[in-house]
């Protein structure tokens, strides 16, 4: 139920933000560049450009929801939190002789759980309950409780009262649980400021004997080593497969077999063969990058227009010169596309490999934190891993536009 409610709130935020953006822009002059002047945009993919206002609103909504469900101080609106304060309920008990007597239980609910002040009559009880926990209530005498707030109760039953629920154990003892509300406990989902606080703390002090930069640096170094090795072997292999029938025949079964095997499935074997330390991880990343790069290079060779090759031959170029001046540059766009894919695969694989065994690394950080239920560190790690992966792709794209400016323009 709560999940569906959250989904509805999210959809509502989507619609409201769209309406708000529409209102905000009303009356402003439309831009007059070529795409904005198109009247047919539904179905013309080239006319669809991401609305940056929507992107900003999307991120803001995620943070608002996150904050609202974790009681963040940065967010003005919150969903109902766990009950804190004083409450009470009455009960009726039956003595051994069958006489009925009324009593009242006063409860203080709070994070620390101190007893409320005030005199106790013989039938009155005061208890303190910690937020989100249950508390058994010791009643005076050995009277048997028959009703709570006027509602009959039997062993195993429960009665909803103000700010919580009173239930009866099978042995007849009352137990009180305060209203939990919709907010998440930090152990499930820490608030944004808790995650930021952890980030600052770990930046300053490190985590598990290594600084944050050593953790992230270790992961990046493994990716770089594995990717470089994979590219160094994969690209020539792909070229050879694109240029020689024997090479293609020989390696086709190997490449086509290994390509659909996810690198994660190789982890057990790699650990058995190469151990859990650096060698194993670099070998795994090498295997993750190898097939992607080989296939990209092969596609780059087969993508060369035959007229370019023919032209180079009739201009007197040798085979080696054609490889160096025609085939290699012509395949660069494909190789860059492959490199972006391979980098993404490697980054995902290194995190997974570090989950299995590592002393440092981004993946090791989150798995170690998860073992101590330090959810804020897990969240911080996930956010960092996502941001770094995005950053790597951004860098690759920049290198692509700089190094292969002719891509898609021939």
């Amino acid at each position: 139920m709560t999940g569906i409610a959250i989904l509805l709130v999210y959809v509502l935020a989507f619609v409201l933000a769209a309406a708000a953006a529409g209102l905000l822009r009303r009356g402003r002059a439309r831009r007059a560049d070529f795409s904005s002047l198109k009247t047919v945009t539904f179905g013309d993919e080239s006319a669809i450009r991401p609305d940056r206002l929507a992107s900003i609103a999307s991120v803001v909504v995620i943070f608002l929801l996150w904050g609202a469900f974790t009681g963040s101080k940065l967010v003005p609106l919150h969903v109902s939190g766990p009950f804190a304060g004083e409450t009470s309920f009455t009960y009726q008990s039956e003595g051994t002789g069958g006489q009925l007597s009324d009593g009242r239980v006063r409860i203080t609910v709070g994070p620390d759980g101190t007893l409320p002040a005030g005199a106790e009559t013989s039938d009155d009880v005061a208890v303190a309950v910690q937020s989100g926990r249950n508390k058994l209530i010791q009643l005076p005498g050995d009277a048997r409780v028959v009703s709570v707030n006027g509602t009959e109760i039997a062993p195993g039953g429960a009665v909803p009262v103000e700010d919580g629920t009173v239930s009866m154990t099978s042995k007849g003892t009352l137990s009180f649980a305060a209203e939990r509300g919709l907010q998440m406990e930090p152990i499930w989902l820490p608030s944004p400021e808790a995650v930021v606080g952890r980030f600052i703390e770990i930046m300053a002090n490190g985590y598990q004997n290594y600084s944050l930069w050593e953790h992230i640096g270790a992961s990046l170094l493994r990716v770089l080593a594995g990717f470089t090795l994979g590219a160094l072997v994969g690209i020539p292999l792909g070229y050879a497969m694109g240029l020689s029938g024997w090479f293609r025949g020989w390696f086709d079964p190997i490449v086509e077999f290994m390509r659909p095997v996810p690198p994660l499935a190789l982890i057990p074997l790699v650990i058995i063969w190469f151990g859990i330390w650096e060698t194993g991880k670099v070998v795994l990343l090498f295997l993750a990058a190898l097939w992607v790069m080989a296939i990209a290079a092969r596609a780059g060779v087969s993508g060369v227009r035959i007229s370019k090759i023919h032209a180079a031959y009739s201009l007197g170029a040798s085979k080696w010169q054609i490889l160096r001046h025609v085939i290699v540059p012509n395949s660069l766009p494909e190789i860059f596309t492959g490199a972006r894919v391979a980098m993404g695969v490697c980054w995902g694989t290194v995190v997974a490999a570090e989950l299995v065994a590592a002393q440092m690394g981004a993946g090791m950080m989150i798995i170690a934190a998860a073992k101590f239920q330090l959810t804020d560190i897990v969240m911080m790690g996930i956010i960092l891993i996502g941001l770094i992966g995005f950053g790597i792709d951004l860098l690759m794209r920049q290198a692509e536009t700089r190094l292969v400016p002719w891509k898609g323009r021939s």
């Binding site: 227009r305 007229s307 370019k308 023919h310 032209a311 180079a312 031959y313 009739s314 201009l315 007197g316 170029a317 040798s318 010169q321 001046h325 025609v326 540059p329 012509n330 660069l332 292969v404 400016p405 002719w406 323009r409 021939s410």
Partner: protein, 268 residues
């Protein structure tokens, strides 16, 4: 013997289903040095196959080609080729494209650069020599292709519909340029085209090929290329013989196409 000689060239492809296609049958031809030959024919008559054989990209199943007395065995810098489109190297600028041949031959920069710049000036791209290929229009790209071929100083220039992808106006300008370059350099040229007008304007000699099997159907000797070197090409088109020859060839190719369609009908 000097010049380009095609001696009974035949080409037969085996098909996967066991049958075969006779693409060319006993094509013989001699081109003297400096001659310009246009080749016309309906689609499927083997024009491009013939050109690829002369260029050395395909080996004929029978017959021999000789250039200046020695046999043609494969592609070589002595036979330059200009393609319809997409044969330029996008990763090089205009000047590097044009100087590709000399650079691959290992010649020194000081040797070939003046010639490259002179050719760029002739084709009207002097101010574009540092531009990237994808920044040029289609017509400009074909000028680069022409200059690149000439910079390598081949004995024979093979053109595979070099102006086929250009718009009508650019095409007329380029036809004049091709004529001018041919006159100035005195190269032997073999030009394949779909345009009868272009074949008439540019070809000193013209062969019309017939399909199934590909063979030479008729050969013409034409005065228009000579006229065109000294006069506006539009004036040449007003020549009384131009119109009649064009009609002649058009109806000839038309009939061949009809015949092919007739052949196809019972099969389908």
């Amino acid at each position: 013997m000097s010049g380009l000689t095609l001696n009974n060239i035949s080409m037969r492809f085996d098909l996967p289903n066991g049958s075969h296609v006779q693409a060319l049958q006993d094509v013989s031809l001699h081109l003297a040095k400096g001659e310009l030959l246009s080749v016309l024919g309906p689609s499927g008559c083997g024009k491009t196959t013939l050109l690829n054989i002369v260029a050395g990209f395909l080996a004929p199943t029978a017959g021999e080609i000789t250039l200046n007395g020695h046999a043609v065995r494969g592609p070589d810098a002595e036979r330059g080729m200009v393609f319809q489109e997409g044969a330029l190297f996008e990763w090089m600028n205009v000047r590097d494209n044009v100087s590709f041949g000399p650079r691959m031959a290992g010649r020194r920069k000081a040797d070939y650069l003046p010639e490259v710049d002179r050719l760029l000036e002739i084709v009207g791209l002097k101010d574009f020599r540092d531009k990237a290929i994808y920044e040029l229009s289609g017509g400009m790209q074909q000028r680069v292709a022409l200059a690149r071929c000439l910079a390598n100083d081949p004995d024979v220039i093979l053109m595979d519909e070099p102006l086929g992808a250009l718009d009508a106006l650019t095409r007329e300008k380029m036809q004049a340029l091709v004529l001018k370059l041919w006159k100035e350099t005195g190269k032997t040229v073999m030009l394949i085209t779909h345009s009868v007008e272009e074949a008439l304007l540019l070809g000193e000699r013209l062969i019309v090929m017939a399909p199934r099997p590909g063979r030479i159907h008729k050969e013409y000797r034409l005065p228009f290329a000579e006229l065109g070197a000294g006069m506006d090409l539009r004036e040449v088109k007003k020549h009384p013989d131009f119109g009649t020859t064009r009609e002649d060839i058009l109806s000839m190719i038309w009939n061949m196409e009809e015949e092919i369609m007739g052949h196809m009908e019972p099969a389908s």
